[in-house]
């Protein structure tokens, strides 16, 4: 393979970046009181925003940090952090409501 054939940004990476930007804008919208004035509504919106953040992090890990191609142990350690911290934070958040 000649090096000049390599795309610096693959379509997949660009789509991932686009999804991350879109998720940020939607979270920004949800987090600024749009249509969620009740306390329960706010709890749901915040929980969604927190879970979306960890989905974003999973993409950053797999595509930006290239963990898709990393050894299984490293991938699992990262995924474990994502799942454990996401559940812990949503739990602490809802527990404090």
């Amino acid at each position: 393979m000649h090096s000049s054939d390599t795309k610096l940004l693959t379509p997949r990476i660009l789509v991932v970046w686009g999804v991350l930007v879109l998720a940020t804008v939607v979270s920004w919208y949800l987090g600024t009181d749009h249509g969620f004035s009740s306390k329960d509504g706010q709890s749901v919106a915040t929980s969604i925003v927190l879970v979306v953040a960890f989905v974003k992090i999973r993409f950053i890990g797999s595509d930006f940090m290239e963990l898709r191609h990393a050894p299984a142990g490293l991938r699992r350690a990262f995924d474990a952090w994502v799942v454990v911290v996401c559940l812990t934070l949503v739990g602490f958040y809802l527990g404090g409501q």
Binding site: S3, S4, T6, K7, L8, L9, I13, L14, W17, L20, V21, T24, V25, S27, W28, L30, G31, T32, D33, F36, Q42, S43, A45, T46, V49, L50, V52, A53, F54, K56, I57, I60, G61, D63, F64, M65, E66, L67, H69, A70, P71, L74, A77, F78, W81, V84, V85, T88, L89, F92, Y93, G95, G96, Q97
Partner: protein, 204 residues
């Protein structure tokens, strides 16, 4: 174009991509550091939510004084910086050093833009007599964003180091591993902010 990567690594250097299925991005040491750092931040995040639950009204009233726009803008800036770092790493691997350099300069510009937004944001708070000692929320706000900013400034140094690699005449496998190590650190800076933004700015 005078510069290319030696795709056959030197005898003492690790191969550039030993096996696409099992390639550790960067040195293994950086991943030990990243996972420990992420565990530390996770503890801080949990402590913030725990304390927030104990004084919800004060935390909500304080949070209302934050600009979500600044937080979101800095999120978009860091996501873009990460994309540029991906392009930089791929460019260095492919021996397209001029393009890699441009991408990394773009990432540096994003990092500086983040700092400018932060100066405006913090400056506004100090102008309103809000400091880390004002109350628990602001202690966490300045603490978490301050520790993150410290990481980002180290990341700026890392980006500069990566830029220097784009000026080497002949890159070895070890050079590419160094660049991947730096990129992994930079993505971690992005990743931490991805949690800080909803936690401090958006959680109601």
């Amino acid at each position: 174009m005078s510069t290319t990567i030696d795709e056959r690594p030197a005898a003492t250097a690790p191969p550039v991509v030993p096996d696409a299925r099992t390639h550790v991005p960067g040195e293994i040491g950086i991943w030990v550091f990243i996972l420990l750092d992420l565990a530390t931040f996770a503890a801080l995040f949990a402590a913030f939510l725990h304390d927030r639950g104990g004084d919800a009204e004060l935390y909500a009233a304080s949070q209302a004084k934050l600009s979500q726009d600044f937080g979101a803008l800095n999120t978009l800036i860091l996501l873009t910086s990460s994309l540029l770092v991906v392009a930089g790493v791929r460019g260095i691997r492919a021996g397209r050093l001029r393009e890699a350099r441009l991408a990394l300069y773009g990432a540096v510009a994003c990092a500086l833009a983040f700092c400018v937004v932060k100066v405006f944001e913090w400056g506004g708070k100090f102008a309103d007599d809000i400091t880390p000692t004002t109350n628990g929320f602001w202690e966490y706000y300045f603490g978490l964003t301050g520790i993150h900013l410290f990481h980002l400034l180290i990341g700026l140094g890392v980006l500069t180091f990566m830029l220097r690699r784009t000026r080497k005449a002949q890159l070895t496998g070890a050079d590419v591993a160094n660049v991947e190590t730096g990129a992994s650190f930079w993505h971690m800076v992005d990743l931490i902010w991805i949690v800080i933004f909803p936690l401090l700015y958006l959680a109601h």
